[in-house]
């Protein structure tokens, strides 16, 4: 029985290959987009974990200097003698590789690849030229050094003995961090007595980079989910249509003696088989997408957060298994409604295929109520939503509510347009379009979501771009930036530059904790460069005057929002109170920042010696100045960066940040176009009985085909009209809610009408291309097929 029933069920797909292709392709695309994004995220997270494991981040408490500067090796020796079980770490960059120096004899097991219990050759590690542990890719960047290849090493990181690292990095006698080992002896003298300039940072249960980049990955995940939802719309449409067409067959099978339970089990098995098949293809496609996106994501994460992410993708079992699971889950969601209806279907109901329009008509009321409720919730969330969860809840309710409302809105619009019709052809066209709406609604919903996402994300990106470019102009006001390596270079720079520039502006900072937030505090020199260029979001009177008079502090928006600070609140820096005089925009910075006067900075952080300087001068004089600085003051040109170059680098990083988003945007729109094509092709086969009367009454097949094409384009235009306000609402939610929660700053929203018009044109083009083939097929329907509609024997 099972074999015969299965044969009957599967023969449907054999006879309707296009439907099968739609189902498999929709599912494969949905899985591909989702799993591609997840693969990128998984790879990045694996890289963070490997990097964190190298330094024991998140596992052990650490000792660092309060001013963020390196500590002397003597401090380590003093602590060890006092009974503190600590292990030193030094790190720095060499040819773009992160060199991490650890002491293998004291380092806790599990950090770095050199733990003694792993059987590493410690003697060789410590002796002679030293050995570095790293991936083959890292080794290739430092060909002159001896490497032991360890594939599990963090990308772009080499671990070696601390002595070797100090020599390679030219940082003899310096230590960045001391790892506090577990199981410290009793009766240690307090840290404040032995090393008062050190602070103990507790283990954080996760790496800093992982936390910093969480929001970035969350955004990617949200986009992946949206793409998956668009794909599932296609699957839902294909399954719904297939079940609708198989309804009479199911009834016949039951009448012939196949129990309902067996039928449902077989249909579930059939769908799960397809889901696994399409999921497998989706995993492969997802791998390709991830491999294409990963270099840009890696560059973005390096540029934004300084996070090293492997540019090569690994096929992790967790990833492809979860992709298959989501393919199965997506199919289950898409098919559950159809299966439920099938299970409830009475055996003796009328055997005619039920019209899609009738089915949709019965559901329309319920759908309308759900859409209205979701949009109401979205409205409330627009006013009240805070945090990432609230932001994403707003996006979800807005998008799903609008998608569900679309068929009803389009129906109303078409009803309005049909009232304007004068000719009989126009009247038939509008009435027939309304009849087609239920069959096309899923594809149009997919198009709506794709277009709204496109408008929303492109508005956010373009608003960000405008704001960021202005911001760079404000913040990179100095014509030249010079980095010095020591006090000799510092003196040479000051001597040489003083008579040749309008101003030398030291850029000095220290890391502190303000109101519980890690904050970079700066001590700039009083100069018009800051007074004229920095834009405040909120300011007290004479904010610069009081700040440069060492009375107040300025903080960035991130710190203000995260700690709930505003003008007049008092914060502490190194035990000194500062009232807040201004909050400034600081786009692209993931952490808190504050500005105090140069003098008070010097008093609070006496050990910080400025190593970067902004020089104000005639822009035309910059190239000559750099050359002379090298020749006469001995500061190499490689230590000077002109403003234009920094801006170009910053903008390049910024552009790559959004390459990923743009790629996903295009893919999502393409999937929506595919959904329209498949819906139209499938409907075309069911259209003959509807079009035959029009043909019989005198319309030519060519006319009918042309009207079919127009219908698809007109529906795309109407969908685009609905997508515009939805996309703008999405952009607002992204800028005002999600961005604030994810990054800590709010962006002004700009409108880009030309971009929207271009997108509308693309959507129209996609719909026209999608409709062309089905319309052509209809225009060429043989008269014999049309005549069959009127045959008594059908």
């Amino acid at each position: 029985m099972t074999k015969a029933t299965l044969q009957a069920l599967l023969s449907h797909w054999w006879r309707n290959p296009l439907q099968l292709f739609t189902l498999l392709a929709g599912l494969a695309l949905a899985t591909a987009l989702w799993s591609g994004v997840q693969a990128v995220n998984a790879e990045a997270r694996a890289s963070y974990d490997a990097a964190a494991a190298t330094l024991g981040e998140g596992q052990y408490d650490r000792l660092v200097r309060r001013d963020g500067q390196p500590m002397a090796q003597d401090t380590y020796i003093t602590l060890r003698r006092a009974g503190w079980l600590v292990s030193p770490v030094v790190q720095g960059r060499l040819n773009g590789v992160r060199i991490v120096g650890v002491e293998p004899l004291t380092a806790p097991g599990g950090i770095g690849p050199v733990a003694p219990q792993e059987g590493a050759d410690v003697a060789r590690f410590l002796s002679g030229e030293g050995q570095l542990f790293g991936s083959s890719e890292t080794a290739s960047r430092l060909p002159e050094l001896a490497f032991v290849i360890t594939p599990e090493a963090a990308p772009g990181t080499a671990v070696t003995d601390i002595g070797v690292a100090q020599r390679l990095l030219d940082r003899q006698g310096q230590i960045d961090t001391l790892i506090v080992l577990p199981g410290q002896p009793m009766g240690q003298p307090p840290l404040a007595d032995i090393a008062p300039d050190l602070a103990r940072q507790p283990a954080q249960g996760g790496s800093d980079i992982a936390r910093l980049t969480d929001s970035f990955h969350l955004n990617l995940t949200a986009f992946g989910l949206l793409s998956f939802a668009v794909g599932i719309f296609i699957v839902n449409g294909a399954i719904g249509l297939a079940f609708e067409q198989r309804r009479p067959v199911v009834r016949t099978l039951r009448a012939l003696g196949v129990p309902l339970r067996s039928l449902v089990v077989l249909m579930v098995a059939e769908l799960m088989f397809f889901a696994l098949m399409a999921g497998g293809v989706g995993v492969a496609l997802g791998y390709v997408i991830a491999a294409l996106l990963l270099p840009d994501v890696a560059a973005t994460l390096q540029g934004l957060y300084g996070a090293d992410v492997s540019g090569t993708l690994q096929l992790r079992p967790v990833w492809w298994l979860s992709a298959l699971a989501i393919a199965l889950g997506g199919t289950a969601i898409a098919a559950s409604g159809a299966l439920y209806q099938l299970a409830q279907m009475p055996l003796l109901a009328a055997a005619q295929p039920r019209a899609l329009a009738m089915a949709a008509g019965r559901r329309a009321r319920f759908q309308g109520i759900v859409a209205f409720a979701l949009l109401c919730v979205a409205g409330i969330l627009m006013i009240t939503a805070k945090g990432l969860i609230g932001g994403f809840a707003l996006l979800a309710t807005l998008l799903i509510g609008a998608a569900l409302a679309l068929p009803l809105v389009l129906d109303r619009l078409l009803a309005g347009l049909s009232r304007l019709a004068r000719s009989v052809t126009a009247q038939w066209f509008w009435a027939d379009t309304r009849q087609q709406l239920p069959g096309l609604s899923l594809a149009l919903m997919a198009l709506l979501l794709a277009m709204a996402a496109n408008i929303g994300v492109s508005t956010m990106v373009s608003s960000f771009r405008l704001t960021f470019t202005d911001f760079l102009d404000q913040r990179l006001a100095s014509e030249l930036y010079v980095q010095v390596e020591d006090t000799t270079q510092l003196a040479a720079l000051v001597d040489f530059a003083s008579p040749r520039t309008d101003a030398i502006l030291p850029i000095q900072s220290a890391e502190v904790t303000i109101a519980g937030q890690t904050t970079q505090v700066f001590g700039p020199r009083d100069h018009a460069t800051y007074r004229d260029n920095w834009v405040f979001l909120e300011t007290a009177a004479a904010a610069w005057d009081t700040t440069f008079a060492d009375e107040t502090i300025l903080i960035n928006e991130q710190l203000a929002r995260r700690s709930g600070l505003s003008i007049g609140d008092v914060v502490q820096v190194q035990g000194r109170d500062f009232p807040i005089a201004g909050v400034y925009g600081d786009y692209g910075n993931p952490i808190g920042q504050a500005v105090i006067g140069e003098d008070i900075f010097a008093r609070l952080f006496p050990d910080v010696i400025p190593q970067r300087f902004g020089l104000r001068m005639d822009p035309a004089a910059v190239p000559g100045f750099v050359e002379e600085l090298e020749n006469r003051a001995g500061i190499p040109a490689t230590q000077s960066v002109d403003q234009a170059r920094i801006k170009a680098i910053s903008l390049a990083i910024f552009e790559r940040t959004f390459t990923v988003t743009t790629a996903l945007n295009v893919l999502t729109l393409a999937v929506a176009g595919f959904a329209i094509l498949m819906s139209l092709l499938t409907l075309a086969t069911m259209r003959v009985p509807q079009l035959a009367p029009a043909w019989a009454m005198g319309m030519t097949r060519r006319q009918i085909g042309r009207l079919e094409l127009m219908r698809a384009m007109m529906l795309a235009i109407l969908t685009a009209i609905v997508a515009l306000p939805l996309g703008l609402a999405l952009a607002w939610a992204l800028l005002a809610v999600v961005n604030v929660a994810a990054f800590g700053w709010k962006l002004p929203m700009y409108l880009f009408p030309l971009d929207y018009a271009r997108l509308g044109l693309f959507a129209l083009l996609a719909a026209a291309l999608a409709a062309l083939w089905p319309a052509r097929r209809l225009a060429r329907t043989p008269p014999a097929d049309l005549l069959k509609v009127f045959s008594n024997e059908r």
Binding site: S11, V249, L256, G257, V258, L260, N792
Partner: protein, 218 residues
């Protein structure tokens, strides 16, 4: 006795309230016997056929087929009954459009696990379908489709054949040919036949006739 129906009642809920379709029907049928059920539209003929075929359940009464009261069977047991013991020929043919004619004919026999290739070949030849085996139902005329439906029903050699206006969609000449074949083959299979029909001519070819009126035997 092949079939004994005793005091069957069936009421449907309609928009205008409960509607009693069958109000105490009794009938019997022996193996090899043919019985025509006639009556006006709405008299309860098709409902009675559906109840006997296990497609629906009565509100009251007994339907004993081969000493088994099918009114008491659950859905799975009734499905098993339809697979092997009872065969139903529908007015709308109800072929499976995605299966070829050969597969359609053999379908119910395979479901029942009673596939007899020689008997199916006999059916195919006698029904004049040998040249159509590789085609799909949509490529056949209405008369040909109904012959496929009859062959499918007879393929598992059911003890009881139920036919619901099997020639209702066919012209007179085709209907006569199809009917001749069905009666011959049912007779050869030794099955009982219960046929719903409006046609007095068809009814007169049955061994017995039962006329229903307003849910009762007239």
């Amino acid at each position: 006795m092949l079939l004994r129906v005793t005091d069957i009642h069936k009421t449907y809920q309609t928009a205008d309230g409960p509607f009693a379709v069958l109000r105490g029907i009794d009938l019997t049928l022996d193996a090899g016997e043919t019985l025509a059920l006639t009556g006006e539209s709405g008299s309860g003929k098709s409902t009675l056929l559906h109840l006997i075929g296990g497609l629906d359940t009565p509100d009251a009464g007994q339907i004993v087929l081969q000493d088994q009261d099918i009114a008491t069977l659950d859905d799975t047991a009734r499905a098993a009954l339809r697979r092997g013991t009872v065969g139903v020929v529908f007015q709308q043919f109800n072929l499976i459009p995605s299966l070829r004619i050969a597969d359609n004919i053999a379908f119910q026999a395979r479901l029942a696990g009673q596939h007899d290739a020689a008997w199916i070949k006999t059916l195919t030849d006698r029904m004049g379908l040998s040249a159509q085996l590789s085609k799909y139902p949509e490529q056949l005329s209405g008369g040909q489709q109904q012959r496929v439906a009859i062959a499918r029903t007879l393929a598992p050699k059911p003890q009881l054949v139920l036919a619901d206006e099997p020639t209702g969609n066919l012209d007179e000449a085709t209907a006569a040919t199809v009917m001749d074949l069905m009666l011959e083959l049912v007779s050869e299979a030794g099955a009982g036949l219960l046929m719903v029909t409006h046609s007095q001519a068809l009814a007169s070819r049955m061994s017995r006739r039962l006329h229903l009126k307003a849910g009762r035997v007239a």
